[in-house]
Assembly symmetry: C2
Homo-oligomer: 254 residues x 2
């Protein structure tokens, strides 16, 4: 009988630039009475990885160019913020009032380049925004390594965000960084119950793990920025979250 247990770690303190997230997580596992095992997976809110990396920008220091001013007018957003969104992006995918979907420099197609203003200030520092982590797959690999050093076991790591989607309402958890897990699993050649090859060829396991974790982390994610998952088993090879990004030339919806 296949069983997954997903536990939100509630004891993680607010993260500051330079903090050692692996140490905070090891402490959170300990405080939660969880003895880590090889093959466990930690799903980590991207926001705390960004914070530890110090990915803050003070919008007052940003000078919007003409494109950001025009686009800000169109999408009804502060041009300083739009300037930062453009700086983080390869291309604008869709813009309309209250909607700015871009291709982030990581290839992720997402709203506002992942920049948001919630849960990031200590008090009334309203002009400070937080960018996505640098190199989330690399950050996940580093965390995996640090956690192995701290705990003696090899756990998978996913760095998760929440994305909206075309066609469906509501956001769901997605993986933007991964290490030690098969973020994308290829089912080609695996027969169904009756020996016929499956038509569906790839499973977005990284995104499904992030979605599960999102259910225990809630949306005000720093209240519970890390979830521990036990029981996921797969023979599929490890693949980073970048494998989940649909290459632009394979995408019929932009």
């Amino acid at each position: 009988m296949s069983q997954l247990i997903c536990t939100g770690l509630s004891g993680i303190p607010l993260v500051e630039p330079g903090d050692d997230i692996a140490a905070l997580i090891a402490g959170g596992l300990d405080a939660g009475g969880i003895v880590p095992q090889d093959g466990d997976i930690l799903v980590i809110a991207q926001k705390i990885v960004s914070k530890a990396q110090g990915r803050y920008v003070d919008l007052a220091t940003v000078t919007p160019g003409p494109e950001a001013i025009a686009l800000g007018h169109k999408v009804l957003r502060d041009p300083h913020l739009v300037e930062m969104i453009l700086a983080e992006s390869n291309a604008v995918v869709k813009s309309a009032p209250n909607l700015l979907v871009v291709e982030h420099r990581l290839g992720l197609v997402m709203a506002n380049a992942g920049i948001d203003q919630s849960n990031i200030t200590h008090e009334h520092d309203l002009d400070r925004v937080l960018l996505l982590p640098l190199d989330p797959d690399g950050a996940a690999a580093q965390l995996r390594q640090s956690l192995a050093a701290l705990t003696g076991v090899h756990m998978g790591v996913i760095i998760a965000d929440s994305f909206g989607r075309p066609f469906r309402l509501g956001v769901t958890g997605v993986a933007i960084g991964a290490a030690g897990v098969p973020a994308l699993v290829d089912m080609v050649g695996q027969p169904d119950l009756f020996g016929r090859a499956l038509q569906v060829t790839e499973l977005a396991i990284g995104d499904e793990l992030a979605a599960m974790a999102s259910l225990v982390m809630g949306q005000a994610a720093e209240g519970c920025p890390v979830a521990h998952v036990r029981g996921y088993r797969s023979d599929a090879p490890e693949r980073p979250a970048s494998a989940l990004v649909r290459p632009r030339e394979m995408d019929r919806f932009r």
Copy 2:
């Protein structure tokens, strides 16, 4: 500490038209040693709901019209199958070689109107296809009621499928039917840790529950067509899976 436990029920026999799925699930819970509790959630693969409803079509009995013949040529699919896809759909959203995305009559934007040919035949009956369940929200409500009668407790029910997505590779579990759960949760007015209103307003809880279940059900879903979830708590009002469908006029990607 918030914790979810998701268990795949492995003892469910192959489903035939007219079968009582609620009874099969109650038996599966029993066989798995799970004593159901109020608030537990059952995630059920749409395929067994369709089978119990007898939603089979023999493609040999289908006569493709001119639109299906032309579209079949374009998307490289059997025109008999394309005729059925069109019959199940309100509109073609995107077509290209090996790609046919439609708006299903339920409003769902999905590949091939959810019709597929894997896991549905007993032996070599290759022309038989299986359509989506009729009224999946209603079917979920009925299952919820039948399960309450059988077990004495009120469990949520989700009927799940796997969809591909624009922008990202791989399929993920989604909810196409729901009862007794808040498939979509509105976060408007809920402050973040620092008292600022969250920018993200809706959580696709139904899809996240389906994604989690998909991790234990695997893709050859009749091997394990039902997952039992314990530990999800929400004060949000119940909403059906139809609430997850983005209304066409709110959709910028078609």
